[in-house]
Every structure is written in structure tokens, then in C-alpha cells.
């Protein structure tokens, strides 16, 4: 009877010690840290390359439309200058009004296009950043990281041991999952 109770006491003591050891380990466990080179990651990502290509395609299209309006204005101006002496006062006034109207149209179009291009660029860039940030969050959780830092040009991380550099690995996985298919879920 005495033996049985001593065994129970010893077991309980061992369990408490084990629990204490686990507790201490959890408290003083070093967090798993890593960092990525943000610029390298952003530029190497397939999503960024595609967004850039789409952006330049749209910009070229809009610039071509602006060129058509500019050519129209230049033709009217050249015509006006060439025939200036042949026109009477009323015709000159009409031509001036037309030129002013075309110039306003051109300026307005350019302003709108510039704003639209900027807005589109901002939306595409934000989309890419959202994808990269979501992926890093998921990667960190999956691999048990407490913190993943991002280096940037303003130097929030001056030095990091290469062993903690996750850029290549993250970029590789990020690009693999870019074109998702049912098998890669």
C-alpha cells in the first residue's frame, strides 16, 4: 500500500517537473525569425511582371488615342497658318474657336488619361502587394515563423545573416503557386 502511494507521488512529481520544464521551454524559446528582400521579391514575382506588361500595354493604347487627338489639332493649326491670309475676319474667328475647342479636348483627354493610368497602376501594384503579403503570411504560419521581416531601401534591416534570408525560397514557392490549378491546392 505504501509502495503504491509512493509510486503515485513520484509519478505526480515527475509530471509536474515535466510540465514545468515544458513551460520554461515555451517561455524562453527563441522565436523563429526570417527576412525577405522586398525589392528582389517584388521584382522577381511573375505577378509583378504580368502587371507591368498589362500596364504598359494599356498606357500605349491610351497614348495612341492621345496622339490621334494631337495630330487632329496640329493639322487644324497648320491649315489655319497656311491659309491665314486667305481667310476673312469671320472665318478666322471660327477657326480660332475650333482650334481652342480641339486644344481643350486634347488637354482634358491628356489629364483624364494620366489620372486613369496612375489609378490603374496603383490598383495593379496594390493587387500584387496584396498577393505577396498574403503569401508571406501563409508561408510564415505554415513554417512556424514568429516574425518575417521585409528589407526595404530605407533600411529597416541593416544586416541579416544569410541563414535567415528567405527570399529565394519564398520567391520560388510564390511563382509556383501563381498559376493555380486544382492539383496544386
Amino acid at each position: 500500500m505504501v509502495n503504491k502511494s509512493s509510486i503515485i507521488s513520484i509519478t505526480a512529481l515527475l509530471c509536474s517537473l515535466l510540465a514545468l520544464a515544458v513551460g520554461v521551454f515555451q517561455t524562453y524559446k527563441r522565436p523563429k525569425l526570417g527576412y525577405v528582400k522586398s525589392k528582389e521579391l517584388f521584382e522577381g514575382y511573375l505577378g509583378t511582371k504580368e502587371a507591368k506588361s498589362r500596364y504598359s500595354k494599356n498606357s500605349e493604347l491610351m497614348a495612341a488615342n492621345a496622339d490621334t487627338l494631337a495630330q487632329q489639332f496640329n493639322r487644324t493649326l497648320a491649315d489655319f497658318n497656311a491659309n491665314y491670309n486667305k481667310l476673312n475676319a469671320k472665318e478666322r474667328e471660327e477657326k480660332k474657336r475650333l482650334l481652342s475647342y480641339q486644344k481643350q479636348n486634347l488637354d482634358k483627354y491628356n489629364e483624364t488619361v494620366e489620372a486613369k493610368i496612375q489609378e490603374e497602376d496603383q490598383k495593379l501594384t496594390q493587387g500584387v502587394l496584396n498577393q505577396v503579403n498574403t503569401f508571406i503570411t501563409e508561408y510564415g504560419k505554415r513554417n512556424g515563423y514568429s516574425i518575417i521581416f521585409g528589407t526595404n531601401l530605407t533600411g529597416n534591416i541593416i544586416y541579416g545573416d544569410e541563414a535567415h534570408d528567405l527570399t529565394t525560397e519564398v520567391l520560388k514557392e510564390l511563382n509556383v503557386q501563381y498559376k493555380s490549378s486544382p492539383n496544386k491546392q
Binding site: 505577378g47 504580368e50 502587371a51 498589362r54 490603374e120 490598383k123 495593379l124 496594390q126 493587387g127 500584387v128 496584396n130 498577393q131 503579403n133 498574403t134 501563409e138 503557386q177 501563381y178 498559376k179 493555380s180 490549378s181 486544382p182 492539383n183 491546392q185
Partner: protein, 199 residues
Amino acid sequence: MRLFLHIALLMVFSISCTGKKTVKECLEYYKKHKEEFVVSKVVSGFEVKMEYIPKHLFASADPAIKPNGDLNFVLTIAPIKDYDDEYKATMFEKISKFEEYKERVFNLNFEMNKLVELSLDDKPEVYVPVLFNTENTYGLTKEIKINLIFAAKSVKGEFKEAHKIDVVFTDEIFETGISHFVFDNHIINNISQLVCSVN
């Protein structure tokens, strides 16, 4: 004898793949393979999901409806519950004023053909949906569903000749970026060859 057995087996296999099935069998087949028709990704608090819908299976009770080679997809954008404290419906996520809401509704109803395109086997030709509609759930569900139809007539050659179908969604509405949803066309072809009958 061996050759005969092989031929017989092959015939049985091809009949089972392309032969007539009852509606129940067709739907069971679809249910079994459903995951192969769905591609999804999570970006910035949203789950963006593209699903191929074999519409002829669902319309098989009507003998007048025959598969015409068109491709139907449903794009679902759903908010993720644990992403932020305010678990809003997708329609209202990141909306702070009425003008933004109006723009979103307009884009979802009239501009989707500019945001979704389809390409085959990484070829440069892209196809836009000939028909699309956004289901208005009036706040009854959190997600948004957009039906997309790509017409077989618009394709150079045929959809079924391709190995890979890439549906691309350039999301300028919820800012989830450019998403590629790549489907194995053999799987789509297999289901599109099923003939379902009521009897």
C-alpha cells in the same frame, strides 16, 4: 483471344466514359470529380474561386438542351471570416462612400468582360466572355457570384483541342491582383462528353 479481351475491355471502358447515363449517375459523377473543376486562392481577406460548370448535366432533364461546346464558369469572391473584425459582405468590403459602391456595382455588372479573359495552352490569343452576369443576393449571402460564358464559336479551332485552359481574372475591383486559374482540359472534355438522360 487476348487481343479480343483487350478490345472488349477498351469498348466497355469507352462506353462507361462516354455512354448514356441517367441524370442521377451524371450528378454523382460530377459530385465525385467536383474538386477537379474548382481552382481557388486566398488574397487579402478574400477567397477568389473559379469553378467550371458542366451546364448540360444540370439541364439534362430538358432534351432540347444539348452541349454546344461553350464553357461556363462561376467566379466566386467571398470574404474570409477571421480576416478582420468587421466581417462584411464582399459587396461592401473596403467601401467607404456611396460613389465607390456605385462604381463597384457598375463594374461587376457591365465591365467584367474587361477583367476576365481566357487563353488556351499559353497561346497569345485571348477570349473574353460573351455573356456574364453578377448574381445580386441583396445581402442574403456574403459572397458574390459571377456567371461567365465563353462561346465556342469565338475560338480559333475548338476548346476541346486544348490541353490547358487558363482563365485570368485581373481584379481591379477588390484589388486581389491578377489571378490565373488553370484547368486541365482533358477533365473538362471527359465530363462534357457525358450524355445524360432522364430515363
